[in-house]
Symmetry: C2
Subunit: 204 residues, 2 copies
Amino acid sequence: MTPSPAFRRSEPDARRLSLIEACARVLAREGIAGASVRTIAVEAGVSAGLVGHYFPGVDALIAATYAHTGARVDAALAAAMAKAGDEPHARLEAFVTASFAAPIADPELLATWIAFWSLVRARPEIAALHDEQYGGFRGQLEHLLADCGLPAAQLRATAIAITALVDGLWLELCLSPHELAADEAAAIARDALARLTWKAPAAG
Amino acid sequence: MTPSPAFRRSEPDARRLSLIEACARVLAREGIAGASVRTIAVEAGVSAGLVGHYFPGVDALIAATYAHTGARVDAALAAAMAKAGDEPHARLEAFVTASFAAPIADPELLATWIAFWSLVRARPEIAALHDEQYGGFRGQLEHLLADCGLPAAQLRATAIAITALVDGLWLELCLSPHELAADEAAAIARDALARLTWKAPAAG
DNA sequence: ATCCTTATTGGACGTTCGTACAACAAGTGC
DNA sequence: GCACTTGTTGTACGAACGTCCAATAAGGAT
């Protein structure tokens, strides 16, 4: 009979990915405080030593997990926009409301995201990733707003406001899922988007 | 000559408070991962063992720090509202924009706040504090909105949107202070508040 | 079948963690 | 000046931490 192997070799890229996904799950479940090399390794079903084989340190694994998660979000947003067609307003609304539908509105993903936020101040490499992610998001938003005819002078402030709204709704969606559901968050975002992108009222 | 004392006794309440404040500073500087008993004790200028004398464990100290920080925010908001007088719209605007002025717009306070957010999912007692804090904030907001004549049917959604906006702006203020300044955040919040509280547009 | 590459394991290392506790000493009442 | 309370220190302990590395073995190549 064939002796059952004690472990199975993986393609380096596949193993790398499985470690990243395990790291994301641990971050979502236990937060940054519980994301130790051993915990992540157990979650991935491998030995602790293997983490060192694929990443120079646990910090690098966490940073890679951030980058991977960010790419997932970007891809989901791009897909939602592509699905919305060519009409600028439809694309803008799709871009914003996609944050409150699968696969982005996943509590696990949001919890992972919050764990990253908590690292930005203390870890410069995480801060760099954040600036890149946030800048990309706001840049796309400004472009979409311009396509919708928003005056150039209002692009920055409006994009910041919408980004803040989305992030804030993410927060509550994740921290108090019993208080706020994804579909309600989507409705709130849709309404707020319409109000924030209307012609400026006469100053009073 | 008088021998200089090796240490100074403090009133229990004063020492307790100094430990809480030291904990907040550590959370702001290093995040939750760096908030160990020893680090906090050094920050407070006492020995590590003293923490155990005042709190049953480091988790309790962190929870107490959350409660204390929340009370500080509440007090600052109440003060800003009181200063605004009796006119409902002025009170509402003061309540919202106070989040972007001293003492709330302090990067240290915001960093501490983010550290708490990262704990909500993993620690039930922190989740309870969060629900209380968030509920209180939104409750006050709904009350102010009602005073401003907003229809009852829109109170909840509008309060959630404004809270999300404030939280999202806090986030960016703290994570990318070089990208977003407090006064710009205040201006964005003021404008968004006006737009979000206007009469609903005709659908279409 | 044998060799070779290298993914993978498991244990060792020094450090830091949270907690407990006996000893010490500061301040108060007498 | 003495006793007493208790805030405070320092240390000790086991557990968990990140990292390193020699030994092992899986799977493809020949």
